[in-house]
């Protein structure tokens, strides 16, 4: 049995992205779920599955159940590890649909991360357990600081400079600049602006770090057979997978043989390409998780777009531009559009497949979407046609 093209995303929803949504995360979640169902030609009473991302939101399936009065919620699931979970929610939905455990599965992310709870700040006092106990007491307390340890080693081993990090930010901001939905619409940056932005945690500068965003996104997954009967234009799910690496921790897997390889992403890539029977050269658009610029470089290598240590050359050669071999983060990504922990990438992937994106790439047949790096992660390959 394979899950290849057994299911499709048939509806998407997305609020505006802002620094202050002015409303609750539950309200935004309901707005995008209703929008996605309407987009698909479905009704709330059709929903019998909900998959949510774990961590950092307080909305549970029973909140959707009560608010929407769902009469028959029979599949519900929460995928762990923060941003690594985004495409994992799609993978769980595909599994449920393929196994007959649900017919219509809603997945979503809703955050007031800018106005209510900023991820990049820490006031954790008191006692900490788990992997945190080896890091927090020493002042290594934020995602930027945890990632900086990997990034410094990557630049050292391959002889790159922070300019290579800057080119990732410049590209994402370029794509965001022409996306009216993006927080950084109309605000491209130059490499010089990147290089003169203030240090956060060396080698990361301010412009290497994701935005904090208020907003919400949702996607509706149904079986491929059902998708063909619905009005919405489907993005078939050629593959969906989760992946892990050895000696895994949440963003601090420092005991690993190499700090320059994303083992979780490599495992996810291998599984996605196996299921889809595709390879990196078959991917028309790539929406790669970009909370911090160096992880985009490592992800490009993990997903096979460049050999180890060579991803910066792709940027230097313009191969990730909208008219390049593999256009990257066409909506502007977390660095330019906004940070919905990977869910904005899924929604943009569907738009690229549908041909409705503002920065539409020509003749898109396949789109790779990936989720958080340096954590147990996930990815999907979307396809215009089932094959």
């Amino acid at each position: 049995m394979t899950i290849r093209n057994k299911a499709a995303i048939v509806g998407i929803g997305q609020t505006e992205f802002s620094k202050d949504s002015g409303r609750s995360t539950l309200r935004m979640a309901l707005e995008v779920v209703l929008e996605a169902l309407g987009d698909a030609g479905l009704k709330p009473q059709d929903v019998d599955g909900v998959v949510k991302m774990g961590a950092n939101d307080d909305i549970f399936e029973i909140d959707l159940l009560r608010s929407l009065d769902l009469p028959n919620l029979r599949f519900f699931n929460e995928v762990p590890h923060g941003g690594g979970a985004a495409c994992g929610t799609i993978a769980m939905a595909v599994a449920a649909v393929a196994a007959g455990m649900a017919d219509v599965v809603v997945t979503f992310r809703s955050l007031n991360e800018r106005s209510e709870r900023r991820f990049g700040q820490s006031s954790a006092g008191g006692a900490v357990g788990g992997w945190m106990q080896y890091n927090l007491p020493h002042g290594l307390v934020t995602p930027a600081q945890w990632i900086a340890i990997f990034a410094q080693r990557y630049l050292y081993e391959y002889g790159w400079t922070t300019e290579e990090l800057g080119r990732v930010a410049v590209l994402c901001r370029k794509h965001a600049a022409t996306n009216p939905h993006a927080m950084m619409y109309g605000r491209p940056i130059t490499l010089e602006e990147h290089q003169s932005s203030r240090w956060i945690a060396e080698p990361l500068r301010l412009l290497d770090c994701t935005l904090d965003t208020d907003g919400a996104c949702a996607a509706v997954v149904v079986s491929a057979d059902k998708a063909k009967r619905l009005k919405g234009k489907s993005a078939y799910i050629a593959a969906a997978a989760q992946g892990t690496g050895r000696r895994a921790e949440m963003m601090t897997s420092y005991q690993r043989a190499s700090l320059c390889r994303l083992e979780e992403a490599e495992a996810t890539a291998k599984e996605l390409y196996r299921i889809a029977e595709l390879g990196p050269t078959d991917i028309d658009v790539a929406e790669l998780y970009d909370h911090f610029t160096p992880m985009v470089l490592m992800a490009l290598e993990a997903y096979g777009f460049a050999p180890p240590g060579k991803a910066p050359e792709l940027l230097g050669e313009g191969r990730l531009e909208l008219d390049g071999d593999t256009p990257l983060n066409t909506h502007g990504g977390h660095l330019g559009e906004g940070y919905l922990h990977g869910f904005g990438h899924i929604v943009e992937g569907v738009r690229q497949i549908r041909g409705t994106a503002v920065n539409q790439v020509r003749e898109v047949r396949t789109c790779l979407v990936t989720s958080g790096t340096a954590v147990p992660t996930s990815g999907v390959i979307l396809s215009k046609e089932p094959y």
Binding site: G120, Q121, S122, S123, A124, G125, G126, A127, V128, G129, W131, M132, Q133, Y134, N135, L136, P137, H138, G139, L140, V141, T142, A144, Q145, A148, I149, F150, Q152, R153, Y156, R198, W199, I200, A201, E202, P203, L204, L206, R247, T252, Y254, Q255, L259
Partner: protein, 138 residues
Amino acid sequence: MGDVARPYPRPDRDTTPFWEAQNRHELVFQRCKQCEAVRYPVGPLCPRCRSFDFDWVVSGGRGTVHSYTVVHHQAHPAFPVPYTVVLAEMDEGPRVIAQLRTPPDGRCEIGMPVRVEWEDHPHQSLPVFVPDEDRGST
């Protein structure tokens, strides 16, 4: 700054001997009694041979900088910036996170030899790294 507590470990039934050793100013690792593999972070089972039997070995406290970050953006009230956090690869194998203490003009470099010194805090003594002058710079 001083009235905001820095985070400190919450020892459990696996990690208590590790943190008690740090309060004695000893950096310790677990060593498997079956296969002699040294492991870190602390855990009940040897991931190599799956034996529960282990003893504690005291690290010589010497290693080299495997990676580091200089933190400039203050994200936590207990940690005034700038400060340097090092991931050191210890001679015994494990990599350990701790802050670097250097002279005022001191820089951190990957490959730099370091050794452990100790700082006492209200809840827990913690290691810091200092340049290991005996071994010079590589």
